[in-house]
């Protein structure tokens, strides 16, 4: 199994070989995990995203045509799931800020939230968390994963043109954040 390429493994999975799918997961799980972790900040969220990504990939393997690599294809799934999770998080944050929510659901101790805050102690993670969703995705893909702009454009289904500017703005914001944090 280890000697087969991703595309050969995909063909094996289509033929009903589940061992081939396990090999694909072993190859790519770490990169998917770290992309999700850097996007969302916490281990629990990243773990959810990795599981959902591979489950979705398995169920929709028929849609994979091989025009992009298998990793790029599942990477796109992971980033989209992460962006959806961020959207939901913003909505929850917004709702929790509302007066009605405070009355209906009074504040209480949340161990999960405490854990998340501890994880956010890393300054870079904090800096990334301040970026808007799309900038955050571009930053993670370019800064950490070192994807090309063409690959990022494929993942985000967008044109290359705006991505460069997005990344530059994200870099500036992170730089400012780190400067302030280290100076204080």
């Amino acid at each position: 199994m280890e000697t087969l390429t991703d595309l050969e493994l995909v063909d094996e999975v289509r033929g009903g070989n589940r061992q081939a799918f396990t090999e694909l997961m072993r190859r790519h799980q770490k990169k998917i995990y770290w992309a999700a972790r850097r996007m969302l900040g916490t281990h629990a969220d990243a773990d959810d995203i990795v599981q959902e990504t591979f489950l979705k990939a398995f169920m929709n393997l028929g849609e994979f045509r091989g025009d992009a690599g298998f990793f790029t294809w599942i990477y796109r799934i992971a980033i989209n799931l992460s962006l959806n999770a961020l959207r939901k998080r913003h909505l929850i944050d917004y709702l929790q800020e509302s007066e009605l929510a405070r009355k209906v659901f009074p504040a209480r101790e949340d161990p999960q939230k405490d854990l998340e805050m501890k994880e956010l102690e890393s300054l870079v993670v904090k800096a990334v968390a301040t970026l808007p969703d799309k900038q955050r995705a571009v930053f993670v893909m370019r800064y950490y994963e070192e994807l090309t702009y063409e690959e990022i454009a494929y993942v985000l289904k967008t044109s290359v043109g705006g991505l460069k500017a997005n990344y530059f703005h994200a870099l500036r914001k992170v730089q400012e954040f780190l400067k302030h944090a280290t100076a204080g």
């Binding site: 396990t22 773990d47 500017a165 780190l178």
Partner: protein, 174 residues
């Protein structure tokens, strides 16, 4: 006002310089703690379990369709086709009141006529008989005299019915 298109483009050099600065600033900063090795070993097992659950759910729904849904649809269609092509034809015109009454036993007709006499004066809501069968007194008396005879009637009818019957016939109950 500067238009979007006029915005100066970022050169590769500018981007690389800024990126290097960020990397330098983040040096020595706390890194995100990675998961333990056991996590990576267990992750494919957990995902495979979820894949099994998801695909077995699909299998259940397929077998459910084969065992329940498809036979159900066939049964309903068969019933509807049967109803359309094999149901007995209904008569063109329904039976008339005369035909329906003629089919009743004589004793039932007598009873209906006598009851009609009893309740006619009490109002239409007293009895269903009065509502269904309302026979004029003179017609009822003619009918009873012709087909029954007073002695038989007196034996079968209640006191109230006899009273009303005699009143209809123009006699006094005493």
């Amino acid at each position: 006002m500067r238009l979007r298109a006029d915005r100066p483009k970022v050169t590769d050099e500018e981007e690389k310089a800024l990126e290097a600065s960020v990397r330098e600033l983040s040096l020595g900063q706390a890194e995100i703690p990675p998961p333990v090795d056991a996590y990576w070993q267990n992750l494919p097992i957990r995902i495979n379990k979820r894949v099994d659950e998801a695909t077995s759910g699909k299998a259940i729904s397929l077998s459910w369709a084969a065992r329940v849904a498809i036979p159900g649809v066939v049964a309903v269609l068969s019933f509807l086709i049967g109803l359309r092509y094999y149901a007995p034809d209904r008569p063109v015109t329904p039976a008339s009141l005369v035909e329906a009454t003629s089919a009743l036993p004589a004793a039932t007709v007598d009873s209906l006529v006598a009851s009609s006499l009893t309740v006619a004066d009490a109002g239409p809501d007293e009895s269903i008989t009065g509502w269904v069968v309302s026979v004029p007194h003179d017609m009822a008396s003619d009918y009873l005299c012709e087909y029954q005879g007073t002695s038989m009637l007196l034996g079968d009818l209640s006191d109230t019915e006899v009273k009303h019957l005699l009143l209809a016939l123009g006699s006094s109950p005493n």
